[in-house]
């Protein structure tokens, strides 16, 4: 058999935090894959020996994109260690910020980082605008900004862009690739929303900043609560926040969801073929309560797509191992005991990964020793199965309108669909959360901080801050000795999804999702991009396709964001 050694190298000269190498066979089908992180910064090492109250400001620098969630998880881990319960108001403020980030993140991910894998801008230029306006109504009764006149104007604008030259937004070299399925009219409708989403995401950044001071790298948390009490008590600020969320909800319902229905319809064969499906192990930790009973996400663990059998999530079953990662001590360890001592075994002479041994800075987190997929897909599946009153109705509605079954979500396209549904849920849930806050303030609860005397807290303690965040389950684990941080480990969603192989064979989710994908044209591996993108990889990476002799056939940039 003539296996072609293809290296898909996501690293460009400019930046490259993630690299993927794959092997394809003579039919251009991927048979093996390796995902590798190429940067080590040692934030966990830096945290050791510091005052536990100070961990948040350092830990949030783990990532400039998911910055709020690291900040929160770090401070929550310390609160958990000390048994400090934060006031209800503080929890609400934290939730308002985190959930706004969910919505912003999902919108930016889909439209600005991912949609051009499906939408051909050059095709949109030949659209019939009246027809496009009509076609849009197939997916939504009142599509977002959908008059022929407006679409006509959008089309002119796009022509302007193309005339203007190399506009980065649309610098996709694969226009005309045979796997672009949308009609010119559908492409135009998508591009219309692409432009609107630019404005929406900016507004959402402002919403985050209202309670968090700034973004990225907010500054509104302390151990015991939040500091933005003056903003909380200012009705104008609450109103500004709600106004932005209201506008966003309108956009999600009339643009994001209908666009997703359109994509599902166009790529139904890919869904049914299971393209981009990973191992089928899903994990959620649940969370985000509103009111007394309600919570946004359910917890649960599913293995091998066995939807009948769902186990409760138990954080003590998480271990991290480093047998294939550039650290000392290969053995699986609890994150409380986890070690971060680099042991770098380098690359091969030609710069390729030593795929037989250690090959990445990303550790291999395991749950009961097994690889897990985390993120919106996991949350939607678990919520659906557990009959969550918050999640199930939205999922049912989407499944009905899209004619999808639950298993169909575990695909490249399905991951995106799950993310869109989640954005809609989070947006609506923000209203519930805000009502909760207003209710609380109305009854004269203005507390935002739980008082404690640091010197009287135990000098030895351990705790974890485990949250669902846009890309999946995030855990910060802190162990305190002599009132200082003795050990610190962050297990981030991208660590789960971009995990390398472990001591036992078993690929990480990115790696697994690539197996079996057939490339229509190995020099333009759009299918690989779509699969990797569908996870919303939290790192900026690029994909190169290089043949066995080292000749580069093509390279892609997978534009997305951060990692550890």
């Amino acid at each position: 058999m003539s296996t072609k050694k293809i290296v898909i190298d996501p690293i460009t000269r400019i930046e490259g935090h993630l690299r993927i190498e794959v092997e394809i066979d003579e039919n251009n089908v991927v048979t093996e894959a390796w995902a590798s992180g190429q940067l080590f910064r040692g934030i966990e090492t830096i945290l050791k020996g510091r005052d536990p109250r100070d961990s948040g400001l350092i830990a949030q620098r783990i990532c400039g994109v998911c910055t709020n969630v690291h900040y929160r998880a770090s401070i929550s881990a310390v609160e958990a260690a000390y048994g400090i319960e934060i006031p209800h108001n503080a929890e609400i403020i934290r939730n308002l910020v985190t959930l706004s980030l969910f919505v912003q993140d999902h919108i930016v991910h889909y439209y600005h980082l991912h949609s051009l894998d499906f939408v051909d801008i050059t095709s949109a230029l030949s659209a019939d605008c009246a027809q496009a306006a009509e076609d849009a109504q197939i997916w939504c009764e009142h599509p977002y900004r959908n008059s022929d006149g407006h679409l006509e104007a959008i089309k002119e604008k796009l022509e302007g862009f193309v005339k203007a030259g190399r506009l980065g937004l649309f610098a996709n070299g694969y226009w005309g690739h045979e796997t672009y399925r949308l009609s010119p009219e559908e492409n135009l409708v998508h591009m219309n929303h692409y432009l609107e989403a630019l404005r929406i995401q900016r507004e959402l950044s402002k919403a985050v900043a209202i309670f968090a001071g700034k973004t990225p790298h907010p500054q509104n948390l302390v151990v015991g609560g939040v500091t933005s009490v003056a903003d909380m008590l200012n009705p104008q600020r609450l109103n500004d926040f709600l106004f932005i969320i209201k506008e966003t909800r309108d956009f999600i319902e009339r643009a994001y969801i209908p666009d997703m229905l359109m994509i599902v319809n166009a790529y139904r064969d890919s869904i049914k073929a299971g393209e981009g499906r990973a191992v089928g192990n899903f994990m959620c930790c649940g969370g985000y309560r509103a009111g007394k009973e309600q919570q946004l996400f359910e917890n649960g663990v599913i293995k091998g797509h066995n939807f009948e059998n769902i186990a409760p999530f138990d954080s003590s079953k998480i271990t991290e191992e480093a047998s294939r990662s550039w650290y000392e001590n290969d053995a699986p360890l609890s994150p409380y005991e986890g070690e971060t001592t680099p042991f770098y075994t380098d690359l091969n002479e030609d710069g390729s990964l030593k795929t037989e041994g250690k090959y990445t800075w990303i550790k291999a987190p395991r749950y009961e020793g097994e690889v897990m997929e985390v993120g919106p897909l996991a949350r939607m599946i678990v919520g659906y199965i557990k009959n969550s009153p918050v999640i199930r109705p939205y999922m049912e509605r989407f499944m009905k309108r899209s004619h999808m079954e639950l298993i169909d979500f575990s695909t490249t396209i399905g991951r995106n669909a799950a993310r869109a549904v989640e954005a809609q849920i989070c947006c609506d849930y923000l209203f519930d959360t805000m009502s909760d806050l207003i209710e609380n303030i109305k009854y004269y609860d203005e507390t935002t901080w739980t008082k404690y005397v640091f010197e009287e807290l135990p000098s030895e303690a351990r705790g974890a801050g485990i949250f669902e965040v846009p890309r999946g389950v995030l855990g910060h684990f802190v162990r305190i000795e002599d009132a200082k941080i003795a050990n610190y480990q962050a297990v981030v969603p991208t660590t789960w999804n971009a995990s390398p192989k472990g001591a036992k064979e078993g690929r990480g989710a990115y790696e697994e999702s690539l197996i079996g994908i057939k490339l229509a044209d190995p020099s333009a591996p759009l299918e690989v991009l779509r699969a990797v993108h569908s996870f919303d990889p939290c790192l900026a990476c690029a994909v190169h396709v290089i043949d066995a002799t080292g000749k580069e056939l093509a390279h892609y940039k997978v534009a997305s964001e951060c990692m550890l």
Binding site: I14, I58, C63, G160, G213, A230, G351, C562
Partner: protein, 809 residues
């Protein structure tokens, strides 16, 4: 930091005041052996005339400087960092010695009533009292002796005054015969005065503590009062055994002594290469600046002796003296060129056609022009000097320290309606360095009539002219760019077309106004800023991400005015910034190579993230060949027109370099070992500061004015605290004391909750984040000085007040 200055003269005061400006959090102590607060020795003569007027020559000292008087230093303990006086011990973190010199005498005069030196207020008192009815003998021929002679002549008290000159010249051995005769004639016009050349004291008769008779080579003088003006010795007995000394305390070119925490300036200091500077206040202040810069670690300045300009006003004549640093009076190749006209004598000393010294008496030559002539080391010929009087178009030089001419002063006085020396302060430093010319300046001020209306008109005229000139420069710059980058993909019309497509013209206009204001430019620059924006795409820009969290890119593209910034960034960096590029089939590696190759020397490199140097740089590998981050940085930076380090990590390693710095991370400047890297620290950096810096580069062909840390002053010249919206509460003592308390609800000051605004210099409080939505202080958290670099993450990133004594940065 506690900085102790030993000494009580001009140098000590200058150092203290300058330190208060550049390191206002430091504790500064002056330890002086005098009873009086520091005064200006240049004007000592005034004290001889009126001993009680010491207040009038007192030097202006910053009120926060602590003054320890009547403390004569007797020893130093460098190991414990203490200095000792007879009564006290002073701890220091850094010590600056400025004890100057002590006058020489020819025999021991301690205990003798009718002999004195001329150095302190005490000396003046002794002279004024002692000379009454006496035959005064001044020993010496130098500037000090002459000035003293001039002063005593104005008093009726002495019966006679004899100037004992061991050799045969006055002022300087190189003075011309004509000059010497002129001076001598003027002095000896007073019948009480006799100048005796080739004479010296050989013996004396003493009764008790009084010298009754002085025997000189040429005769004897009864009933004498003797004043020595024969020279000086560095005043350093307390330091002789503790620091490396020769004649003075030995210092290197950074003014540091053999102990790393002790600096020495002025007449006590002896440069290991170069020797002493004596009696030259301007040089002394330059030495002080060098010492301060090195002591604070803000700059690594070195001292280099300059061509000196000295002036001396004696009675009815005026000396001017310009001397090259390498002037050697004994050099046999020195030639004198003399141009005389009445009582004006211009004496040029030339060596091998190079001007080495100029001594003018009552001259009107432009001394600054002569200084330049010496500095350029250009050959001159006598004919040139004869035919060119080198007169300054601004009249004679009044203040040689600051280089201010008479007519320039008159202009300043008129334009600003100055009516007193005090009012002049904010417009000119003239008369404030050595103070010698203060009286002359006061005379010019009182002789210049001012009209406030006219002053306002003149000022406006000048401002308009300057603005018009700058505007013209900017337009020329933009035209130049148009021709420089023909391969630019987008002309301004298309840019506007693109703006239109985002329906952002209105927003764009607003944004331009805001950027213009943020950069502290006059509103009339708005048009130019707008043009600058449309030109941004013409500079190739490479944005490298190294050991980072993508936060700066995120901030730049997502939050503040993303529509416009997004566009701009895409225009300028389309092929070179990974995060901004959607999936692309373009070969970005070869795109980078092509910029490196085709636009060598033209592209601007922006770097985000720290540079890990540990493990040979392998904590970060980039590209299919696994190039390390530092290798890539070096390669790309090599031919960049400019390198901008964005964010605190790129500045000095930031959070990545926080203790224990596991990856050996450093900032861009250190990794490249270059001092010309422009730093825009912040975590993240406010996008306005990035765009503003680039705009300035385009409009003015230069980067904005930078501070000592290479940060643009327009963005980093503010303390967060000074412009904070909660500042009023700080001043009113209204503090948040506990999270969520009443103060927190009312937005009171967060200083007690560990806000580090007082230690942070950045414009956050002025521009805020996310389109002015908020900033950390508004969110009730307080500032942690994220833009100060790694120190922020090791010392400031917490909610506690800094411990005492750790508040400097």
């Amino acid at each position: 930091m506690r900085i102790v200055i030993v000494g009580g003269g001009i140098a000590a005061v200058y150092i203290a005041n300058t330190l208060m400006e550049s390191a206002p959090e430091s504790e500064i102590v002056i330890v002086s052996d005098e009873k009086h607060p520091p005064y200006d020795r240049i004007h000592l003569c005034k004290l001889v005339e009126d001993c009680t007027c010491v207040d009038s020559i007192e030097l202006e000292l910053h009120p926060k400087v602590k003054l320890e008087l009547d403390q004569k230093i007797i020893s130093i303990d460098p190991a414990q960092k203490r200095v000792f006086s007879e009564h006290a011990a002073f701890h220091y973190d850094k010590l600056i010695i400025a004890t100057g010199s002590v006058p020489k005498t020819l025999f021991d005069i301690s205990g003798i009533k009718n002999a004195a030196t001329f150095r302190s207020q005490k000396d003046c008192e002794a002279i004024a009292k002692g000379m009454v009815g006496k035959n005064v003998i001044i020993v010496g021929a130098g500037p000090i002796a002459l000035e003293l002679l001039d002063t005593l002549m104005r008093s009726d008290a002495p019966q006679s005054i004899t100037l004992l000159v061991r050799k045969n010249y006055l002022y300087s051995e190189v003075i011309s015969r004509e000059g010497l005769e002129l001076i001598r004639g003027i002095f000896e016009a007073d019948s009480r005065v006799s100048i005796r050349f080739g004479d010296q004291i050989v013996d004396k008769e003493v009764e008790g503590n009084v010298i009754t008779k002085v025997l000189t080579k040429q005769g004897e003088i009864d009933n004498p009062f003797i004043i020595f003006g024969v020279g000086i010795d560095p005043n350093i007995p307390y330091a002789r055994d503790l620091l490396e000394c020769d004649k003075g305390i030995l210092v290197n070119e950074r003014m540091r002594t053999s102990d790393e925490n002790i600096y020495c300036v002025g007449e006590a200091a002896q440069l290991r290469e170069g020797g002493f500077i004596a009696g030259r206040v301007k040089e002394c202040t330059i030495q002080a600046d060098v010492a301060i810069a090195n002591l604070l670690g803000t700059e690594s300045k070195i001292f280099k002796e300059e061509v000196s300009i000295d002036g001396l006003k004696v009675g009815s004549f005026l000396f001017a003296d310009v001397t090259a640093t390498d002037f050697n009076p004994k050099d046999s190749e020195n030639e004198t060129i003399l141009i005389t006209h009445g009582d004006r004598i211009d004496q040029y000393i030339v060596n091998n056609d190079r001007l080495k010294r100029f001594i003018g008496i009552n001259t009107n030559i432009d001394l600054l022009a002569l200084k330049r002539l010496i500095e350029t080391d250009a050959p001159i010929d006598a004919a040139y000097l004869y035919s060119n009087r080198l007169m300054s178009e601004y009249g004679k030089l009044v203040c040689s320290c600051e280089g201010v001419h008479e007519l320039e002063l008159v202009d300043i006085i008129r334009e600003n309606a100055v009516t007193s020396f005090a009012e002049l302060k904010e417009h000119s430093k003239a008369g404030r360095t050595c103070g010698r010319c203060k009286q002359d300046i006061c005379a010019i001020i009182s002789a210049t009539p001012v009209d406030p209306a006219e002053a306002a008109r003149l000022k406006q005229e000048k401002l308009d002219a300057a603005a018009a000139a700058e505007l013209a420069k900017v337009r020329a710059r933009i035209d130049k760019y148009n021709t420089l980058h023909p391969k630019n993909q987008l002309n301004p019309e298309n840019f506007h077309e693109a703006l239109e497509s985002f329906e952002m013209s209105r927003e764009f206009n607003r944004w331009v106004s805001m950027i213009t204001a943020s950069m502290h430019l006059h509103p009339q620059f708005e048009g130019v800023v707008e043009e600058g924006v449309t030109q941004l795409n013409k500079i190739p820009i490479i944005w490298l991400e190294l050991s980072d969290c993508t936060g700066n890119s995120e901030a730049f593209i997502k939050t503040s005015h993303p529509k416009v910034d997004d566009l701009i960034l895409k225009y300028i960096s389309l092929d070179y910034h990974e995060l901004l590029m959607a999936a692309s089939g373009d070969q970005s590696e070869s795109a980078l190579e092509s910029i490196l190759h085709n636009d060598s020397g033209k592209y601007v490199l922006i770097v985000e993230g720290a540079v890990p140097l540990g493990m040979d740089g392998k904590f970060l590998r980039i590209g299919p060949k696994g190039e390390t981050g530092v290798d890539l940085l070096r390669r790309v930076a090599k031919n960049a027109a400019a390198v901008i380090a964005v964010g605190s990590c790129a500045y000095d390693g930031g959070v990545v370099a926080a203790a224990p710095n596991p990856t050996g991370a450093v900032g861009v400047a250190e990794a490249l070992d270059r001092s010309d890297i422009i730093n825009l620290p912040g975590c993240p950096t406010n996008p306005i500061n990035i765009v503003g810096t680039l705009l300035q580069y385009i409009m003015f062909d230069e980067f904005p004015k930078l501070d000592s840390k290479n940060r643009p002053e327009w963005a980093y010249g503010f303390r967060v605290h000074d412009n904070c919206e909660r500042r009023g509460h700080y001043d009113a003592d209204e503090f948040v004391r506990e999270w969520g308390d009443e103060g927190a609800k009312k937005g009171w000051c967060l200083f007690e909750m560990g806000c580090k605004g007082p230690y942070a210099d950045l414009n956050c409080s002025l521009v805020k984040f996310n389109e002015g939505t908020s900033w950390p202080v508004q969110a009730g958290h307080g500032c942690f000085g994220c833009g100060q670099g790694k120190i922020a993450f090791d010392q400031y990133a917490n909610n506690r007040k800094l411990p005492e004594g750790e508040n400097e940065h």
